[in-house]
Symmetry: C2
Subunit: 350 residues, 2 copies
Amino acid sequence: MAVTLGDVARHAGVSLATASRVLNGSARTVTEALSEKVRASAETLGYLTNAPAQALAKASGATVGVLLHDVADPYFGAIARGVWDAASEAGLLSLVASTDADPETELGAIRMLHGQRVRAIVLAGSGYTDPDAVRRIDRALDAYREQGGAVAAITDHGPGYDTVLPANRSGAAGLTGALIALGHRRIAVVTGPERLRVPAERLGGVLDALAAAGLDPAAALVERTEFSHAGGRAAIGRILAAGGPESWPTAVVALSDICAAGVLAELRDRGVAVPGRISVAGFDDIPLAADLAPPLSTVRIPLARLGAEAVRLALAAGEPQPAGGGAGRIAVPLPAEVVLRASTAPPPHD
Amino acid sequence: MAVTLGDVARHAGVSLATASRVLNGSARTVTEALSEKVRASAETLGYLTNAPAQALAKASGATVGVLLHDVADPYFGAIARGVWDAASEAGLLSLVASTDADPETELGAIRMLHGQRVRAIVLAGSGYTDPDAVRRIDRALDAYREQGGAVAAITDHGPGYDTVLPANRSGAAGLTGALIALGHRRIAVVTGPERLRVPAERLGGVLDALAAAGLDPAAALVERTEFSHAGGRAAIGRILAAGGPESWPTAVVALSDICAAGVLAELRDRGVAVPGRISVAGFDDIPLAADLAPPLSTVRIPLARLGAEAVRLALAAGEPQPAGGGAGRIAVPLPAEVVLRASTAPPPHD
DNA sequence: ATGAAAGCGCTAACAG
DNA sequence: CTGTTAGCGCTTTCAT
């Protein structure tokens, strides 16, 4: 039914091998005259490479896979876009898997991507803290790499991976420093689930800044929650409920923007003025951060670049290694920039 | 290097065929005793189905493809999530392609997905108005279907496709009606590019409501722009620049939420009160719509469901047809609900 | 520079 | 119910 390479070869009056070399193979070893004929035949017959067949024959497909928590989350949506851009630039399609930050789901997805023989896998979600989960995932990924697969990670997933490293820690420190410079002393932080590494990195930055300012990090009010809108709402609710208004923090930094959006929503519902009564800051600078009520102060991470760089990193790893190099892993640091908007201001006078 | 079905068969002491039947084939024609052995062998050997090989043999892979304008756009991100959910429920992986609403890019993506032998293609972006683009895309999709592929569309892409139909027209009419009920008479509308069909559908709804209220649709102030944040900003800028404040509309409905976010941003920058001076409404109810400044009135579309239903529709089309049916296409209508929030209010008194 | 032929790993008749 | 045997469409030595 479908037009095959054989059909094209016959139509062009050449052998299967020659047609393959012209249409797909990289070796430049075919006469221009023949090449032309083959291309013409392919064109008139409407030939489309059968990707599975090609993948089977060369033991590697024309796709890359991305593992992330949720495509519908603006943070990951932007990363997925970057992945698509870099992948399609390399002529590859992208498979995106939403794992809901669940190690088991992620493991399953890795196996499926491996089974697909994707050319590369990008770990875009956060790494896990559970050693057991990490071990199992590492194993699955190792098996994949042993069969020629390439892996790149966004944010730290352990020393075994080429990694694109956004400045989570220093970004958070910078943001917290800015809050302190505004005069805040009672700063609460809404962080993410304990099973993820990214929230811990960012929290570390917040504590760094606190300590640097002579404040006691151990006394910091830290609320743990899911990195989601609902999570943010719940967390700030608990913070407010912990004591009377006089004990409320004057600023809260949510370690992810969607989470901060939830905080803002809850505060709005409760009639707590932002930034009048409490300043709020987020992290990521997702697309609509500047349009929230009020516009959100945050840390800008080059989201799309994260995805694109990770793909390039993984794809480059497949290439012949640069001279002198051992099997050392590459880390690409990416800057984070503090962006102050209307959701933060000096603390209220007592 | 990799563990193959043959390895599993040998290890289990059965034939290739039997191993295949147990591990992949659907036919329930293997003894429980043998099945058990095969599964155990697969488990201990760490067998992973080679998807390309399987796809080649059955002429259809374990993936579905989604064509959308931009994964980083919240509207499409949510749809992509729905696609993933339905696909993974069926044991399939999803390939998502961002086309930037460009017909050429879309055509290229269709060819690649076809080449991948994806089980189904979901057209999640808007259809085009250019007959030539439509014809070429239809052709490419027809070729794909002739080879066993299934296609489903979200929003109208022509009569040839099973379609999930969100109530674009009536939703827009309902929203506009609500504005009119609030007392608005000078309503401007920010619509999308002419080359897309979706904006036209929604605009039709707005005009319907205007006419129903005895207002002259022909007199409506319609600004065309890209469906993006920047597009929204530019459009409202033009509307305000068209005349003095006394001639400004009292309400503007942007036919997409990101676009409305841009309108809000521009208005905020210019110091125009919303909804005090001008009411603003959007369309889609993307995740952060309720958190914008001010919370955006809009039309709620069940985004994730759109994607999930489309996948089910496409997958069901491959199944044996229900009795009595011709080749008639199925249309699944999905409701749209008007959600009024703080961005809309009665017009100012003169 | 081009062609012939042997697989890649799996499925699907067809036998037994 | 299970095993044998052809392919699926493409890449890739190995000859020529």
